[in-house]
Symmetry: C2
Subunit: 214 residues, 2 copies
């Protein structure tokens, strides 16, 4: 089996918005009410950030349970690591993900600005330049035969879609509209030229859109 | 987390039939057209018996992909191992599953008749007596902290349901009726006193019924 590049548990609103224009340390998504995008995931038993027992084991749980299964590395945009822009000002601040980041693999953070790697528990963040294909090649090598997760944010997902490097996508469309913000798509139909699609409504109110290459 | 006992990718007809009354070496399910029960699984990319690349990566694939994820042992009834009844006549015949059984863990085959364990590739079959709880305790120990799959057949699933030992069930209801045979249920409503349920139709025509303990 080849190593797939997979977008997993990526959350957008009904109008395709995944983040606001203005992220900050206090508001990582730059959206008021961003939690409405991902509350479905937090309600499941297998949510990677879950600290208490409990949670649902219905359809939504299959998606959160699958999050780390067969994944050997993640690629993320710089904005998913933190809100800083331009040259790194503060090496002491080690990202939004705390002492126990949920990735538990090598993570390749795309940035034009070098910085030493950071290891936090089972996760090591590497800060890498280069185009999407070059970064994917590094991530594949680090993944030791397993798949690579494309973690986002939305700008990064679009960049890899434009380069035709994405093999599968799971996008959860939440029952909320934001009106403005950074969009993954105007309509998920945009991907039908290159991908099969299934649309699966969940009891939680989100609608799972599943894509895989034609 | 505790170790769950999970029924996974268990296939029944619209009238609840999972197998015929009369299994044989040539007809393991004892049903004409049994392949209509599980053809949805064979069409997915992650079907454990798949030998060729390809297959769908939509909703159904989440279920076949989950088959071995976090599973450390399987329990099965004797009829899932082979069609022999009564004392073992032929130790040379090593079950229906070939040289590369898809389980890849210890498997506990419930039988009143002792027989030495058999190792085939990554799978070891143990032949064990005792009631469901005693067998579950052995399987949990062998699973080393991971979950235990309850593999079937239908009589065995019912036996563990009657003993209230099952934590989650995924039952795929196929668009076929058999009229007669061994039934898992008359209606999946029978489980609602003890389980949450979600019913998720798939593009393939099967309807996934997901249950987890209340």
């Amino acid at each position: 089996m080849s190593q797939l590049l997979r977008v997993m548990n990526f959350n957008v609103s009904q109008d395709g918005v995944a983040a606001g224009e203005h992220q900050s340390l206090e508001n990582p998504f730059g959206l008021d009410g961003a939690e409405r995008l991902f509350s479905w995931a937090g309600a499941t038993a297998s949510w990677p950030m879950r600290t208490e027992p409990g949670g649902s084991r219905g359809l939504d749980d299959y998606f959160t349970r699958d999050y780390s299964h067969g994944i050997g590395a993640e690629i993320m945009g710089r904005n998913k690591f933190g809100p800083q822009r331009g040259p790194w000002q503060d090496h002491d601040w080690q990202g939004w993900w705390g002492d126990e980041p949920p990735f538990r693999t090598p993570v390749f953070v795309m940035t034009h600005h070098e910085r030493p790697s950071i290891t936090l528990s089972d996760t090591t963040f590497h800060f890498v330049g280069g185009d999407p294909l070059a970064v994917l090649e590094r991530a594949r090598e680090a993944a030791r035969g397993m798949d690579v997760r494309l973690g986002g944010g939305v700008t990064t997902v679009r960049e890899f879609l434009d380069a035709d490097l994405v093999d599968t996508l799971h996008v959860a469309v939440a029952p909320v509209e934001f009106g403005t913000g950074l969009r993954l798509w105007d309509s998920s139909d945009e991907l039908l030229d290159r991908f099969h699609r299934e649309v699966v409504p969940s009891a939680s109110g989100v609608v799972h859109h599943l894509f895989w290459r034609r």
